[in-house]
């Protein structure tokens, strides 16, 4: 298993290199100039030249890329053009907030989505099933933006139960986490339902029932555990999507996460921050995938890592 993890980690290097190269080129291919955006619509050419020089943007692409890679290897992600602070400092400031929001949303999704899927699968065609699947349909199709604003309007402005925006306490996390979780909750509910339905029709479930096991044991030990593999895969992928997809939720709730940082940096063509943030998200995504792969073994002992 250790060798497996080690080998997996080795394959990360070319992936990250590819990610870096792609994002490096993409930000530079997009029209727009970081110096111009920093200095405003009416900056003097002299000021622009100075800013470009200050951040090495006046050099040829390949030179910039070489310098950048050399610095990254040494752990230096560069300096933000906008704030003139180290990129690593910016990421360390914003990423923990995103992580908290994502974990909160994932928790909501798991606690709501999986039970809803199980109930729907156990009572197919009933009103439970119908309600759960209708809820899932609404959850996937509803714009997060609208849901977030409605949540603020009802629960913060109208009822006054939660703060409107910002961070600070666990209480601040509730509305954004629920808002962010809607899509994932819905997907997990549908996934769990279909996986459960498939497993429940298997012979070994009939056998388990026939030998007189209590329903609880059949559902949770025999059925759910087997149904979890695809659910865990999807949950892992969703976790990655939540990490990068939190930007709308972050904007609505003034939540200072990596999504806001990334969008702000893209709009300002703050190349070093965009590169650093994408790199960080890529690393997080890869690690989550690794964890998911390792989880398979825990769920299904037949799976072995070689």
């Amino acid at each position: 298993m250790t060798t497996y993890i080690f080998r997996r980690l080795l394959t990360v290097i070319p992936t990250l290199l590819g990610v870096l190269l792609a994002v490096f080129l993409m930000v530079r291919l997009a029209p727009g100039d970081p110096a111009q955006l920093l200095a405003g619509e009416f900056a003097t050419p002299e000021a622009l030249a100075e800013i470009r020089k200050r951040f090495g943007l006046d050099q040829a692409w390949h030179v910039q890329l070489g310098l950048y890679l050399a610095n990254v290897v040494q752990g230096d992600l560069g300096e933000s053009v906008r704030t003139r602070k180290p990129v690593s400092y910016e990421l360390a400031t914003y990423f923990p907030n995103t992580l908290r929001l994502t974990l909160g949303a994932m928790l909501v999704a798991l606690l709501v989505g999986i039970p809803a899927g199980i109930i729907a699968a156990l009572r197919p065609g009933t009103i439970f099933d119908l309600l759960a699947m209708l809820g899932a349909l609404i959850g996937v199709s509803m714009p997060v933006f609208w849901f977030g604003l409605m949540a603020i309007l009802i629960f913060a402005v109208g009822l006054g139960w939660f703060p409107v925006a910002g961070t600070g306490s666990l209480w601040h996390l509730v509305l954004p986490a629920i808002t962010l979780s809607t899509g994932t909750t819905a997907i997990l509910a549908r996934m769990t339902r279909s996986a459960m339905l498939e497993v429940l029709s298997q012979d070994y479930i009939r056998t388990a029932r026939a030998k007189g096991l209590p329903g609880r044991v059949v559902v949770f030990k025999h059925a759910l555990r087997n149904a979890l593999i695809p659910v865990v895969t999807v949950a892992g992928l969703q976790f990655g999507t939540l990490l990068e997809g939190a930007v709308i939720t972050e904007t609505v709730f003034a939540w200072p996460g990596i999504g806001q940082l990334l969008v702000g940096s893209i709009l300002a063509r703050d190349y070093p921050v965009v590169q650093g943030a994408v790199l960080l998200i890529a690393v997080a995504f890869i690690l989550i995938n690794l964890v998911v792969d390792l989880l398979y073994g825990a769920i299904d002992p037949r799976i072995r890592y070689e």
């Binding site: 029209p31 003097t44 603020i152 913060a156 402005v157 925006a165 806001q260």
Partner: protein, 514 residues
């Protein structure tokens, strides 16, 4: 265990409530400041925060006057090439060091230095070439030639005087720990969330009534409005026009409108067809109903431009506005050779989301132009790409007509006219992006720059604006108004025409006053 948990939960719940009360004024801005180092702050949210901590030598008052702030008095030499500043005595920076001539010299030299690469270096670079310390509180600024707007430029937030000791000691860290002489001291900055300032108990001027200021970063307008509605913020900027009525209906909130020095216009690219023909430029101006745009598209939150700069700026005089006259527009177009059989086809470039209702304004213009037979296509680009496209040199510039906005933030017409209309400032060297040139105007603008007498300058700018008006380099649209929601328990809060917020004079009303 359970009681402990409950107590903890209660504490967590009470926290936001406790933070919202007390003696803190909470202001919801659109974005987090990017930096708090005065010469590097280029956006209004940054400048707003910086201005409470760091003061400038002169101030541009909300009613449009330029007056001494950190300077007690000043004098110009007879040839106007030397400005002597007599600084106020007995002022200390927040770190306890002295505010003196050396500190001013340090800051102004830093602003124009190459290694800082400030976008605002041009305010003084090349115009003031030497800073001489005469004694501890007297400083001489030497200029190679008279530069009349120098006092106006010294009101700009980038020329703020910060503690040299703190700048040297903190290095890069200074950018999020500013030290000035202002009424508020920097306390903390939770990145992406808020900046908090605390009252400077040793302030040399009138001490503020409110102990703490908190500037929240809330990008989504609806969320800002919800904050002010629930009382979780006292002030929210940029109220969307459609929310004004609803907020005004609430007894605890007042929606305040303040004119901005930002002028919105379309410029014509005069270097190519069809806008090299003045008849076409005039026709477009006559075809656009600016009053209707302000009334219906901006919800009344604007002022139809009657000059290239807005009132409240030194040098402003009303020069008029091209009246809405579609018939005249059609005649002018016909004279220029455009008829129903051979209609004028143009592309209008417009930003989307940069200025108040920008794309809606462009769409209104498009439909008004259609009424006089002009077929206009709208092209929008993301802001970064937009700036790049409008700043191309003449040969590669594809723009025909494009919307831009300009804020004369120094309060002096030179800043609003020279860079935009002088022929030496054609893109990409300057801000004259329509390649407009008139030698007579160039001379007038140059004279106004070096003229010593304010009345003479005023007269020169009147002439300059008349020339500009006659040459029609722009569609003169409107100046924006800033719409701010303020809770009624707050009084004395100022929204400055340069789009900064000033809370130093604000106070909470007692319940009896409300």
């Amino acid at each position: 265990m359970r009681t402990k948990l409950l107590a903890l939960l209660a504490l967590v719940l009470a926290l936001p409530i406790a933070l919202g009360q007390g003696r803190t004024l909470i202001i919801a801005q659109g974005t987090d400041p990017t930096t708090l180092d005065a010469p590097l702050a280029t956006d209004s949210p940054s400048a707003t925060v910086v201005n409470h901590v760091v003061e400038t030598l002169f101030e541009y008052t909300p009613d449009g006057k330029i007056q001494p702030l950190l300077v007690e008095r000043y004098s110009f030499s007879s040839d106007r090439k030397t400005l002597t500043l007599y600084l106020r005595k007995g002022i200390k920076f927040h770190d306890g060091t002295d505010f003196n001539a050396e500190a001013v010299k340090f800051n102004l030299e830093r602003l124009i230095s190459q290694e800082l690469a400030s976008a605002f270096a041009f305010l003084l670079r090349g115009r003031v070439t030497a800073f001489e310390v005469v004694d501890s509180h007297t400083l001489r600024l030497r200029m190679p030639e008279p530069f009349a707007p120098v006092l106006a430029h010294l009101t700009h937030s980038s020329t703020g005087i910060q503690s040299p000791t703190a700048i040297r000691r903190l290095g890069v860290g200074y950018r999020d720990n500013p030290v000035g002489t202002g009424p508020y001291k920097f306390d903390r900055w939770q990145k992406g969330q808020f900046v908090e300032l605390v009252r400077n108990e040793d302030y040399w001027g009138r001490k503020p009534a409110i102990e703490r200021l908190r500037f929240l970063a809330v990008p989504e307008a609806a969320t800002r409005m919800a904050l002010v509605e629930t009382g979780q913020a006292h002030v929210a900027v940029r109220v969307p026009p459609q929310d004004v009525q609803r907020l005004n209906a609430r007894p605890e909130i007042e929606v305040v409108t303040t004119p901005s020095v930002r002028t919105i216009f379309f410029y014509f690219n005069q270097s190519k067809k069809p806008f090299d023909d003045i008849r076409v430029r005039k026709a477009i101006n006559h075809a656009i109903n600016k009053e209707e745009i302000v009334k219906f598209v901006l919800g009344g939150f604007g002022r139809v431009s009657d000059a290239p700069i807005s009132p409240g700026i030194f040098g402003y005089t009303k020069v008029g506005s091209y009246e809405y006259n579609p018939n005249l527009a059609r005649q002018l177009l016909a004279q220029a050779g455009y008829t129903a059989q051979n209609p004028l086809r143009i592309t209008i470039h417009s930003p989307n989301g940069r200025y108040l209702q920008d794309i809606r304004v462009t769409e209104a213009v498009q439909s008004q132009l259609r009424a006089v037979g002009v077929q206009a296509q709208i092209q929008t680009l993301e802001w970064g790409a937009y700036l790049a496209a409008t700043n191309q040199p003449r040969e590669r510039n594809e723009i025909q007509m494009a919307m831009l906005g300009w804020g004369t933030v120094t309060g002096d017409a030179d800043y609003g006219l020279y860079g935009l209309f002088h022929s030496s400032q054609q893109a990409p060297n300057g801000f004259n992006r329509g390649f407009y040139a008139n030698p007579r105007l160039d001379r007038v603008l140059e004279q106004a720059r070096v003229a010593t007498n304010p009345q003479a300058r005023q007269q020169l700018y009147r002439t300059a604006m008349q020339i500009i008006y006659n040459d029609v380099p722009w569609v003169f649209l409107h100046s924006e108004q800033q719409v701010t929601a303020i809770r009624r328990e707050v009084q004395g809060f100022v929204v400055h025409p340069t789009e900064r917020l000033i809370a130093s004079g604000a106070s909470f009303r007692t319940s009896a006053e409300r």
